[in-house]
Every structure is written in C-alpha cells, then in structure tokens.
Amino acid sequence: MKNQSVSNNIDWISIVIYTLLVILGWLNIYSSSLSSMEDTYQKQLIFIVLTIPLIFVVLSVDGKFYEKYASIIFIISLLSLVGLFAFGKTIAGQRCWYAIGSFTLQPSEFAKAATSLALAKYLSDTQINLKEVSRQWQALAIILLPVMLILPQPDPGSALIYSIFIIVLYREGLPAWYVVTGFVTVLLFILTLVLEPQYVILIGLAVLVIVHFKSRLGDRNIVLSSILFALITAFVFSVDYVFDNLFKQHHRDRFNILLGKTVDMKGIGYNTNQSEIAIGSGGWIGKGFLEGTQTKGGFVPEQHTDYIFTTVGEEWGFAGSLVVIALFAGLFLRIIYLAERQKTKFSRVYGYCVAGILFTHFFVNIAMVVGIFPTIGVPLPFFSYGGSGLWGFTILLFIFIKMDANKVNEW
C-alpha cells in the first residue's frame, strides 16, 4: 500500500528528465572515450546500472528517516571528509578519494546531500529565525564546516558550490544585505582584477555618494557610508594584494586568461581554447554522433569528465546544446516548483538546496567550458564521468523525490 502511494505520487517529470540526462551523458562519454582507448564508457555504464538499486533504496526508506537522522548523516559525512586526511588517496595532487580496490570514492560528492539535510533540519526548527544574528552564524557554521574540510584537499571547485546555500538561507529569511554584500564582493573582485584598484575605489565612492543622497540618509548616516567606503577601499587593496601575492601562478593565469589579459593558446589557455574550438566547430546541428573530429582527436583535455559538454557542442551542435540546457533548466525549475509546494519546511529547504547545488554545478561547469568562467574542476551533474558524482547527485535528487512523494502521508 505504502509503495503504491510512492509510485502514485512520485514526480515522473523529474525522473524522466533525470533519466534523459543520464542517458545523454553516457552517449557523450561513449563518444569521447573512443579516442582515449580507455574503457570509461563501460565503467560509467556499470555506475549507471548501479544507480538503480541505489534509487530503490533511497525511495524505499521511510519518509521520516531523512529528517530524523539528518544530523547523524551530516556527522558521518563530516567524518568521512576528515578521514581523507589520514586515509585519502591522492590523485593529480588532490587528496579527495578513498580507494576501495580499483574503485575510488569521493566523499565530497555525498557531503553536499548531507549538508543539505543538516541545513534543512536546522532551519525546519520553528524556533529558528534567521533575522537573529546568532542563528545566522549557526546556519553559516553548518555550511562552512564541510567547506573547511574540502578546501585543503584542495578542491576549490566543490567548495565553491556551497556558496549557493546563501541563496537558500535568503529564501528562508536571511537579510538581503548578505546577498547584496556577496554580490558586491564578487563584483569588486572582478573589477579589481580588470581595472586598476584606484579606479575601482573611485567607482565605489561615486556609487556610495549617489546612493547616500538619493536615499536621503541624512547626516547621521554619513558615518555609516564612510565606514562602507573604508571597507570597500580595504577590500579592493586586499584583493589586489591577495591576487598578486597569495594566489598561486596557475590561479592567476586562469583569471587572467578569462579576463583576456593574457593570451596563451598552448600553455594554460589550451584547455579553454580547445574546448571553445570543439564547441564552436559544432555549428547549428553538430557533426553527428561519433563524428566529432575534435572529440576523436582527443584535443580537449578531461573531455569525459569536466569537459563532457564539449562533446555535446561538437557532435550535436547548437540544437543539442539547447536541448541539454533546456533539460537542466527544466529540472531546476521543476524542483523549485515542487519545493515551494512542500508541506514541511524541512523538505522545502532541502528541495531548494537540491535545486541550488545542481544549478551551481551546471552553471560553473558549462560557463567554464564555454570560456566565461575560470577553469575550476566541477563536474556536470549526471553527465560527467565518475561513480561518486553520479551517485552523489542521484541520492541528492531522489531523497527529495521521496520527500515530495511522501508529502501526502504527512497530512
């Protein structure tokens, strides 16, 4: 009876999109793996097949389980991240895998779901009001704990994903100025790199003066505005300092290439240049499945993982890219729609987290591949090669689908 109610209430739209994305992902991995002589497409097929029992487990667990054990799942997940420092396997300079036989598992892929559960659990407490500063700090602590463990691996890409939780918190009542501050910070950062620091400060001053007088803040708030200006000045100079002195050369290169400050097609710019060529050569309808010359030639590095979208672009063209992007956007919006109609705050917050995490991955990944974002290793959900990623995203999504299907029972 219970199982039947799950299948009746399950959101088939999400599942269909999910299935399509996984299949399309595999086809593109198949195409890109032909050049490398590796059996990545076979392995990925095994990973995909293994998601089926995984989905059944996730769906058949009692609906209350996730809420009940959210804290414990979170703690286990944190411990798994801590354990990396002792038992982790280092691949390509990153210590973020556990090796089990020939398979490797990346705990940070599962930590996102765990963190989402923990955050949802914390916010679902009716006592919590995010207008209170102490609550804000507590919520931030939940987010920053895994970030602190992931950053030193080092895996800045995975850590970056957690920034989307700010948007989730905002949805649940976090004051707007957090978001504004975050946005302004990023803007100032980019401007400082593009322009000279003194010009950025001048622009900041001009904006502050206009805002101050337009909004008639009066003399009393002149102190506030001044402090704000001081902060901007300090930030701009510190960015300049950090960028020049604390960033490693390859980080600087990534930004510089993105901002068009340096051109280097053979060295550090190679990845982006090749991925742009591959995508650009696709034209309107692409070269056809298995016909991508760039894909066959193996010109794009990491094509089956982070750069899998180049295969889509080359072999399926703008039409194919449009379909894939539309599928992703449809999934995100569907999840948000579902989240908004949840009866409990727990499942709504969780749904928001799912949409946010998937979206951030999607955007950062494709933006990097098409050359409008620095080179940061972030997989494309359901597409990129890798068991941990696929399973992590699958669990993340299906926990929410289970919650959504279960909402009837909560009456």
């Binding site: 978001v179 066959k296 030639g297 992007i325």
Partner: protein
Amino acid sequence: MRKVLLPSLIIIATSLLLIRIFYLQVVDDTLKLKSENNAIKKKYEYPERGYIYDRKGKLLVANQASYDIMVIPREVKKTDTLEFCQLLNITKEDFIQKIAKAKVYSPRLPSVFLSQLNKSEFAAFQEKIRKYEGFYFQKRSLRDYEVGFGANIFGFITQVNERLVAKNPYYNSGDLIGQQGVEQSYEDLLRGVKGVKYVQKDKYNREIGSYKDGKYDTIAVQGEDINLTIDAELQKYGEELMLNKRGGIVAIEPSSGEILALVTAPSYDPGILVGRQRSKNYTELYRDSIAKPLYDRGLLAEYPPGSPFKILTGLIGLQEGVINEQTTFYCNHGFSYGRGRFMKCHAHPPAQQLHNGIYNSCNTYFAQAFMLTINKYNNPAKAVDIWSNHVKSFGLGQFMGYDLPTGKRGKIPDSKTYKKIYPNGGWRSTTIVSNAIGQGEIVMTPIQLANMMATIANEGYYYTPHIIKKIEEHKIDEKFTTKHVTTIDKKHFKPIISGLSDVFNLGTARALKVEGIDICGKTGTAENFAKIGGKRVQLKDHSIFVAFAPKDNPKIAIAVMVENGGFGAAIAGPIASLMIEKYLRQKITRIDLEKKILATSLQSEYAKLGGLSAKVKAQMRIRDSILNKKIAIPVVKVKIDTTKEKKQAI
C-alpha cells in the same frame, strides 16, 4: 521576492550560457576553421608524371624513384649505429647531428633523416631497414632524363611558388610544378590529378585513421604521356654542332608546322636539375647573365634578320606588281639614294634580275624593289601598312601561338611606328629603305625565321609551329591543324624558290651544296653592337642562315643563328646544311665539314663580352654530357620499370 531570486538566477544564467554557445557555434566562424586545422589532415597521393617521347616514340623523359629516409626520434631504439652509418654512407657525427635535429622538430613526428637517395644508394639499406626501429622510407618520384639534351624543350620541375599557391587552389605549398618548356605548357596533362586522403589526427598530430571512412577521399589520376614533334637525333646533333657557340636553331616540318628541333646554345644537361644537386646547379645557371643558359635563343632572341628578309621583299614586290622576273636593276657595289646616301653591296655582276638578285644577295636589287613597292602609293603611310600586312601574314611581328611558354613578338614596322619615330612626318621610302634588306626597324626571332621558310616551302601557307605531336588521351589543339594563308599568291613563290635553290648552286652557299639534296636557302648577317667599358663597340656579325629542303616536297625548314659567327655562309650555313643532311639522310657524308664545325669555338669572341663562359662551359656543357651522359650526371640513375607497368595496367 525571496521566492523569485533562485528561479530568476537560473533563467538569467541559462540564457547567458545559451547566448555564449550561440556565439561560439553560429556567429564565430573562425572556430570551425581552427577545428579543421586541428583535427583533419589532407594527405596527398601524387600521381606519376607523364612520360615524354620524341616524334618517333623514343623515350626522352621518364621518372625515377628516389627515397627519403624518415625518422621518428622517440621510436628509435639502441641499435648498431656503426652498421647503420655504413649502409647509408654517413659518419657517426652526421647520425648524431641528424637525430638531434629531428628531435628538435618533434620527438614523435616523422622528419626527413636523409633525402633523395637513389635506388642504388638505397638498395643496401632497404634490406635492413626493418632492423632499425623508428626509421622508415618515403618514396618520391623525380624526373629521369634519358637524354642529355633538350633541356630548353623539356623545362624542369621545381617547387611551386607561394604566389601560385595563393592563386591556384590545386597546388599546395611544397608541390612540384613544371616550369619552362613543355613541362610548363603541358603541366596540366603531365602532372595528372593528385589524390586526397582525409586523415583524422589526434592532439599529438598522430594519424588515427581515415576521416569518415574515406567518404571524401579521391584517387590520384596518372599524368598523360606526350609525344613531342622533336626528332631526338636531330635535336642532339644540333646541340652538338652548337657547342662553344651561342645562338639558336629552329627546324620545322613545313607540311605540318611540327618543330623538329629547337636548339639553344649554350644549354645544359637536363639531368643536373634533378636530385640533391638541383638547387646549386640551378643557381649557377640562373646567375650566368652573360651566356644565359636558361634563355632559349631559338624562341626569345630578337635579331634584325638581314638578307633572308630579301625573300619577302621580293615576294611583296611581285605581289604588288612593281617588279617581275625580268625587271633589272644595276648595281655597282651598292647604290645611292636620298641625299647622298649610299647603300653598299658586295662584288657581283652589275645587272641583277630577281633570280640572281637572290642568289647574289644583291642589296641594290631589293632596295629598289622595296622603294617601288612603297612609292606605288602616293601615301607612304598607307604603303607601309600594306607592306606590313603582307609581312605579318607570314606570322611575323606577333606571338605565333606555339605551345611553349616563352616567346617574343619580334617587330614589323607599320605607319604607326614611323609616326612615333618621325612625329613631324616627312619620312619616305628612302627613309625606311633599310627594311628592304632585313635591317632598319625589323626584328625577328629564329623560330619566326624558320616559320617564314616553312611558309615559302609551302608556297604561301603555314601551320602554327608546335611541339606537341600526340597526347595519350587528348587531341592536340585545333589551332595547330589550322592553315594560315599568306597574302602572296602561290605563283609568285616559284621564281623565288628557284633563286633560293641557286644560292647553293651559284650563290653565297656554293660551298655548302649537299650532293643529291636540292636545298633552298639564304645567307644572312646581322650587325650588332655591345657596350664594353661604356663604349659602343661593333662586334663580329651574327651569322644567319635559313633554308628548306628538298626543293620539291620539302620536309624541313630551318633557321640557324650563331651570335658573332660572322658571314652567314661561314658558320650558320654549314650548320643548316649539316642539319638538313642529318634529317633527310640520317648520316653525314661531309665528315670534314662536320669536324670543322664541331671544333669551331667562338668562346674567344664571347670572352670580349666578359663573363664566365669558359667556366660555365666546363661545368654545364661538357661534350661528355651529350656523348656519354652517365659520367656527367652526378646522380646515378636506375630505371624503375614497375611504376610504368602499373601505369599501363590502369
């Protein structure tokens, strides 16, 4: 508001990505091109160039295999370097240096280790090449000259220049192309069509298979063989006779316009422009600006024709009706005209009619005939134009349209010419009387002279001279089988020809008579000047001789020009008569004359002009290169029969 933020972000971000992707895929064209350069390589399969035969089917130019030893440094294993070096006849230092050079280019891509080995050099190595990992060979096809003459006719093969690559999409940088001679004029037929294979490359530039299973690949089409109108024996003989002289010989079959021989001197052995020595040798030929071995004098050298032009003066006089066979002019060592001007003539009986006027080459007779022609009309401009048209109907004063890539128009003056020279007018027949005897404003090339003789032999028509006799699968150009008829009536040729015949019986070429062959000919001399040390100096006359034979049913018309050879009968005449004898009889009876001509050297005369002629002679044109070419050619040649068989199979 709070609910809207994330969905809006998603929509904005998605649109941003789509715009960017649209830009990359649809707007920006450069990426597509880059991708092709990246991943698709066109590999060309070069067909074998067509062979060149002479008119009797003798093979003149074939192909030879040459081998480049290639190396992929990364794949080279430690082997017996000593043996390797011995097989290829290089030193160990060479070996180390060449490997290092290849490594600098790329460790994983093939580069040329040793280029253009001939078959015998390659044979020893071929057996053992499998022992040496990382080495392999690439076969190329080069021209193989079966004869040591005819360089000016064949032209040569060279790398196509970048200007042509940009203009003609068929050629790629580094392709070979025929230049000069028939290699240039029949390039399209000889080269065939190269085949293209599209190959998929990977990021290391390695080939990883054919692109789209060879859907766009094309097969190479073999070049076509051609037969030239050249008679190899005659050509060879002509070049031998011209040794140590400068000038040209052009022989034409009157009944067809086929060029039987096209000799220029000095020339060079075509074999020296093949193989490893090519560029060094070419530079040397190119730099010799005095002897100009690359300059085809038969086609390009413009001279005042001198006396042979009197034939046309006579013909035009007859056609215009101002003279007839009985018209008599008196000549006393020349004649005076205009205001105290005097044209000299040499010693001969004073009363001259057309017949003896020709064989005595009387200046007075033809000057008078010319003046009568011009004075027939009240208006000298009109008269000159009529005269000019007659002359031009012999194919003179214009590009003749033959199938060799170089040529000169020559110059036949008309009223416009004199309007330019004398803008105020006032010129009359006396002013331009030099034209009567082939001087004045007239210049002609040897091939034009030869064609003029062919036209006379034909009694009033000619076919455009051409060098192509047969093409494997094409017809030769129609223009070579189209008759050009002159403005002179056929009947006027008879007396002229009879006069020309007596040049050998009674006239200036008495000494050159060949027993049993009735030759019609005419001597000529052309004055010439050069600037030596800033002063204008008159040099020894150019020796000119034109002829055709036999008188009835002529088989050969010929023009010989020897620079600074003196009187026409001195050297050009003997050469012409020997050539005629050779062609008609295949053997020479006048051994002494032949010996004398072969031994004649004008190098001391040419030395006055300066330059390196002696050195050039020694290097480029030793007699041995003709008589025994195997010694003279640096590259040992081995015929490859296999390629030819394959070709026939196709």
